[in-house]
């Protein structure tokens, strides 16, 4: 709960894509802070400076327009949002880009209420339930998650990846990430999916490719 109103407040991501989002968020944050301070400051200034003096019944000057001013205050916000849009569109292309040669491709199926993870090219499958949430291993490096749902819409959400993606029945969506360092990351379902929506946690542990391979072999042998 690293709350700090100065610095940006997003948790630092553990993926390359997530870090792009962090950077974008930080830029937005500082521009937004500037816009807020200026606008709120002007309002506050008006409130303090132009409060009527008791007993002053004269009308203030009745001015109504100033075309130049109005064009300016249309143009400046317009320019700001264009910049923000371009930055967003660039970042979006980055985060949506498919990772080259994923070290693992995981087929994820969400269902009421749990997750099934199947590793492509193997027969390894990990299934979680509300009582026994799934815990899976992945190698560090490039990963592709191919997502679908067996029933209603859910969303695959690992807060430390920052990026989430819906799982939709009848469709396959995709989330590509590059995990930069080993670690354990909690996941959740983010799209409301019925009674036990809050009980769909899962855990992803990123380990070195060697460790991952031996885990995969063990899992395979168990079947």
């Amino acid at each position: 709960m690293a709350t700090s109103l100065l610095g940006s407040c997003t948790p630092r991501a553990v993926t390359a894509q997530g870090r792009d989002v962090n950077t974008l968020y930080d830029i937005f944050f500082w521009i937004a802070a500037g816009v807020f301070v200026i606008t709120a400051g002007l309002i506050a200034w008006s409130i303090i400076r132009y409060r009527a003096k008791p007993g002053d019944e004269d009308l203030p000057k009745q001015f109504r327009h100033n075309l130049k001013l109005e064009i300016t205050w249309f143009a400046i916000p317009q320019a700001i949002v264009i910049v923000l849009f371009v930055l967003s569109a660039l970042t979006l292309t980055d985060v949506n880009e498919r990772v080259p040669e994923p070290a693992a491709t995981v087929n994820v199926t969400a269902y009421q209420w749990g997750w099934r993870f199947a590793y492509e090219g193997t027969d390894v499958e990990v299934v979680g339930t509300p009582q026994q949430p799934a815990e899976i291993l992945v190698p560090t490096g490039n990963l592709a998650f191919l997502l679908t749902s067996a029933d209603v819409v859910h969303a695959f959400y690992v807060p430390k990846f920052l990026i989430k993606r819906d799982t939709i029945p009848g469709r396959t969506t995709r989330l590509d990430v590059a995990v930069e360092a080993p670690g354990t990351f909690d996941g959740e379902c983010a799209e409301f999916c019925g009674l036990l929506h809050h009980r769909m946690p899962f855990t992803i542990e990123a380990v070195s490719p060697d460790q991952f391979q031996s885990w995969l072999d063990d899992m395979s042998a168990e079947i």
Partner: protein, 542 residues
């Protein structure tokens, strides 16, 4: 005066008492019925929210099970949006549109009564879901398919939700047609389009949004009803249907809907600020232009609610969503320039208006964040969005609603509201609101999803949730202060007189409350503030 023909036909004595209220076709009485009913739904939906906040105060399930919680947020959201905020707009519009344009009533008074009763009935039908065996609808106010289909959420409560909302939908559409006809057909002589009060301009755009968006909702709900009861398969992938289609239809309605519940309140504060600054609105035409632009843009942004589906053209919807912030910014600068070098008085209506400015500013700024697809991919469906939308809906609509109540209740009742209790109400609400909703931004960034009755203690969400729950109790207290103030003022409040604030628009040119058919005579209309002109002896534009 404009058309009195149909209205003067009422020569028979009008029934009084309860029967009088039930059979009324008077726009002012219907307006009051709308407002009271909307506030009742505000309180009912608010109680559901307080229960949710109580449940979330600490980890674990303490006061309700999952199913009850899911019903609570569904009916809270539905109730607040469609049974409170939208009909509240109808209430203010009913009462003040005819007064503002100098008309004796709305164009079709009987249709007007019908729309009210359709709404009241629809609202009861939605809430009656709680009385069924399986409870009320429980899939969120957005009703996403296929969760809302009978396979996943069986039960009569959902069908009641659909039928109730279809009734409310018809009510809104018919009401919009009626008010539009009033504005375009019944304006007083001299009231050209550019002399319309800015409230009316905002209403024109609002009514157009209702006319284009509610039919889509109503049709989508009908399709959902067919899916549930007759195997329609519109939204069922197993039958070749498409769950994403529902999202498109819902948000094609849903995004204009948020402007339906905010534009009229932009109108309200744009009436209040000039009166309490004693200056004309700065940039009237620019303001009208901005309102029209918001109306047009609002139909091009709906899929910003669907970025995480991966199936929309993200850059387009993102671009449009960011652009829509620009006309909203223009409005802020108009408001500030109106106050600039004015002589500002801070009675309660103006205080709530200032609260509105600051709170809506925060909600508007976080709106730019969520309009950016990569940021939305992070915060979508988390408490960040819950925070954002309450800064817009509560910080915007509800603060402006109270500004409007304090401003107009003297006109509607003939009595002033108490200033001391009004100020107490304001400060308590400002405090409680921010304590409730500001921490939610951080909870969302830290990954707390919305629509969950419980969270694991190790996720570290407890402190901020407890704080937020305390805030909601303060909000509840502030509402009690308002209710006491209202009841006391209706008994003992100082007489308001015709024009307690030094108003601009025509409602201040008649008695408080106005007589049946509103006006005995009208001042000449040479600008958008005829009552100001009459008071200060102005005889020409500007």
């Amino acid at each position: 005066m404009a058309t009195l023909d149909h209205a003067l036909a009422h020569t028979a004595p009008r029934p009084t008492g309860v029967v009088g209220w039930i059979t009324t076709v008077d726009h002012k009485r219907i307006g009051i019925l709308y407002m009271i009913t909307a506030v009742v739904f505000f309180i009912a939906s608010g109680i559901l929210a307080l229960l949710m906040r109580a449940e979330l105060a600490q980890p674990g399930l303490q006061i309700m099970d999952e199913s009850t919680y899911n019903q609570a947020f569904t009916i809270h959201g539905t109730g607040m949006m469609l049974l409170f905020a939208t009909p509240l707009v109808a209430g203010f519009a009913n009462y003040f549109v005819p007064l503002h344009v100098g008309a004796p009533d709305v164009a079709f008074p009987r249709l007007n009564a019908l729309t009210y009763w359709l709404y009241a009935l629809g609202g009861l039908v939605v809430f009656s879901g709680f009385l069924t065996a399986s409870g009320a609808a429980s899939f969120g106010w957005t009703g996403y398919a296929p969760l809302s289909d009978s396979t996943y959420t069986p039960g009569a409560g959902v069908d009641l939700w659909i039928i109730g909302l279809i009734l409310v939908g018809f009510s809104s559409i018919l009401g919009a047609v009626n008010l539009m006809a009033t504005i375009f057909g019944m304006r007083a002589p001299g009231m050209t389009m550019f002399r319309l009060p800015i409230f009316i301009w905002n209403m024109i755009v609002t009514l157009a949004l209702i006319m284009f968006s509610f039919p889509v909702l109503t049709a989508a709900l009908a399709a959902l009803f067919i899916d549930r009861n007759f195997g329609g398969g519109f939204f069922d992938p197993a039958q070749g249907g498409d769950p994403i289609l529902w999202q498109h239809l819902f948000w094609f309605f849903g995004h204009p809907e948020v402007y339906v519940v905010i534009l009229p309140f932009f109108g309200v504060v744009t009436e209040i600020i000039p009166v309490f600054s004693r200056k004309p609105l700065f940039g009237y035409r620019g303001f009208v232009f901005a309102t029209l632009l918001i109306g047009a843009y609002s139909f091009t942004v709906w899929a910003h609610h669907m970025f995480t589906t991966g199936s929309v053209d993200n850059p387009f919807f993102s671009a449009m969503t960011m652009l829509i912030a620009v006309p909203t910014g223009v409005k802020f600068f108009s408001w500030i320039a109106t106050m600039w070098r004015g002589k500002l008085r801070f009675q309660t209506p103006m205080l709530f208006t200032m609260g509105f400015l600051f709170m809506f500013l925060i909600g508007g700024i976080t709106g730019i964040f969520v309009a950016s697809p990569p940021i939305d991919l992070a915060v979508h469906d988390t408490y960040y969005v819950v925070a954002h939308m309450h800064y817009v809906l509560f910080g915007g609509t509800v603060f402006a609603m109270f500004a409007a109540f304090y401003y107009w209740i003297p006109k509607m009742s003939g009595r002033m509201m108490g200033e001391r209790l009004g100020k107490l109400h304001f400060w308590l609400m400002l405090l409680g609101f921010n304590v409730t909703f500001f921490p939610m931004h951080q909870l969302g960034l830290d990954g707390m999803q919305r629509r969950i009755p419980d969270y694991l203690p190790e996720r570290g969400f407890d402190t901020l949730n407890a704080l937020s729950t305390v805030g909601s109790a303060i909000v509840a207290m502030s509402i009690l202060v308002f209710i006491s103030n209202f009841l006391l003022s209706m008994k003992k409040g100082a007489p308001a007189g015709d024009d307690p604030w030094g108003g601009n628009t025509l409602e201040w040119a008649t008695t408080s409350p106005p007589p049946h058919h509103n006006f005995r005579s009208l001042p000449p209309i040479v600008s958008e503030r005829p009552v100001f002109d009459a008071r200060h002896g102005v005889h020409g534009d500007g």
